[in-house]
Amino acid sequence: MKQFFSFVKKEFRHVLRDRRVLLILFGMPVVQVLLFGFALTNEVKNTKIVIADYAKDEVSQQIITKIDASHYFDIEKNVLSNKQIETAFKEGKIKAALVFPAGFGENLSHGNKAQLQIIADATDINMSNQITAYLTAIILDYQQQNQLSKIPYQIIPEMRMLYNPQLKGAPNFVPGVMAMVLLLICVMMTAIAIVKEKETGTMEVLLVSPMKPWTIIVSKAAPYLILSLIDLIAILLLSVYILQVPVNGNIFLLLAESTLFILTCLMLGILISIQTSSQEIAMLISLVGMMMPTMMLSGFMFPTENMPYPLQLISNILPSKWYYIIVKTVMIKGAGFSAVWKETLILAGITMLLFFVSLKKFKIRLQ
């Protein structure tokens, strides 16, 4: 134990003395959370649109006011002809246009049925989908409010899109960022820290010391377990207080699952460090071998269900995929352990497997 504590103390000194490491450890999670939370969302916010109101009646005015009042859209100007709409699109000033045909309100009150047109700039497919969905939602909302007054209105927008009821992009990103940051810190930092000792020759001296090889590895990894837990808490605080994404499920379950994932990552880091002999290679493997697949295949950016079968298979062996599902289920959906026991089991299995593989490789290395 004494050896272990001397080692951990020394390891913390390394970390605290290296500004670059500190920056990666504590700057990166903050930057990532803020980047994904604010800058990189495909959330609709203050999107510029134009409105061509041929009806100019009470109903169209009410809908326009409602759209204008939401913070999702800014009405650039009211135009009167289709030509003006086209010009506005071509100039790139607006992302969408809304057209009320003449007699819109009249149709609604007499025929109980009216149509309007939403035109979106489809050069950015995701964005146009989102915009039409948001506009539709606002209109449907208006319709429902007015049904309370017992007039059976029916407004039919030409676009029909599924609607994200929370109107937020952040909930999808927080679990992904958590998986990515933990992966980066645990895998890359651990691997680099161990390989660094090999490079500087201190590993040899450690192996000649009475410390058992596995004690060396464990004491080397332990500080990163603590540091990643600190990072995890920082990400959660940021997401709750800055991104307004609450932890809906049990926080202790979330922390326990995260600790399991951290252990998986530490094992990966250790395995990489056993197999490599230079810091550059360790970093490259961690980045290309771990970060890229996590970003692309874990379901964080693109849903795994839509991938070709071989890629789906690959995604199944990624620990981050399972962790991502667990965090989404526990943190966002607020489900309990019964909902994620299968994923937990898979993650634990991967961890054990990595542990035994690195144990074996390590023994071979020593001979």
Partner: protein, 246 residues
């Protein structure tokens, strides 16, 4: 009769078809400075790795500090110190922190570590540098410190793997003063080197050629035996016949 602290008998290490160390047999006595010479690739490092418990021998027997290199490596490790050629201090830690760390992993108590490091710093006249990071010290000092760290826990034997590479003759001479001091305290010094002037400082030396020990005696006797003036020439005569090179 001198007490042998390292004994090997036909110690061999094979890597596949390649015989890195071929049946070497020698003894190292307590308190002596034993030079372990050989050209690059002659098998020095492999032999040293077997003796320090880093690598299991293929055949033959050996004991270090009275412990068997096959079964009792843990005991061996407690009784030896080691300084690698890449020198083995943490550059981003201070001198004192390095002492604390190495003292800690050898299981010394806080008080022992404090007393020892105070004494060492005074002995090396490093009071001003004690709180400095190792990276800011000159190479000669780093090597002296690495040696002090290697014998920090009072081992019976200290293994030095080309400890003085890259420093000037004066710094090397000062380093050897430390080795002599350690040897006077009864610590056996097992040292590999490329410098023939250093070989002259050893009590006895062995010269390895192609995985075998080609000569083993005191520097004086070796010079007589080969009828030459310097260790350089002894080494040259032996190494010339080597088939292996890097």
């Amino acid at each position: 009769m001198q007490e042998a602290v390292i004994k090997t008998d036909k110690l061999t290490k094979r890597f596949g078809d390649f015989i890195a160390v071929n049946e070497i047999t020698f003894e190292v006595y307590k308190g002596e400075i034993f030079g372990f010479l050989g050209a690059n690739g002659a098998g020095k490092t492999t032999a040293m790795r077997m003796l320090t418990g880093l690598s299991a021998p293929t055949s033959g027997t050996a004991s270090v500090a009275g412990f068997d290199v096959y079964k009792q490596t843990e005991n061996i490790k407690k009784n030896i110190g080691y300084m690698s050629q890449k020198f083995s201090l943490y550059e981003d830690l201070t001198v004192v922190e390095n002492f604390e760390f190495y003292g800690g992993i050898y299981g010394l108590s806080k008080k022992q570590i404090k007393n020892k490091s105070d004494a060492l710093i005074e002995g090396l006249k490093l009071q001003k540098e004690a709180k400095k990071l190792v990276i800011d010290l000159p190479l000669g000092w780093k090597q002296k410190l690495a040696f002090s760290v290697a014998i920090f826990h009072d081992p019976k034997i200290v293994f030095l793997d080309e400890p003085t590479g890259g420093v000037d003759p004066l710094a090397r001479r000062q380093f050897w003063d430390l080795i002599y001091t350690a040897s006077e305290k009864g610590i056996t010094v097992f040292v590999t080197t490329h410098y023939m002037d250093e070989a002259e400082y050893c009590n006895r030396i062995s010269i390895m050629v192609d995985g075998k020990i080609a000569a083993l005696d005191s520097p004086e006797n070796l010079k007589k035996q080969f009828n030459v003036q310097s260790m350089d020439e002894v080494f040259y005569q032996l190494a010339r016949g080597a088939k292996r090179s890097e």
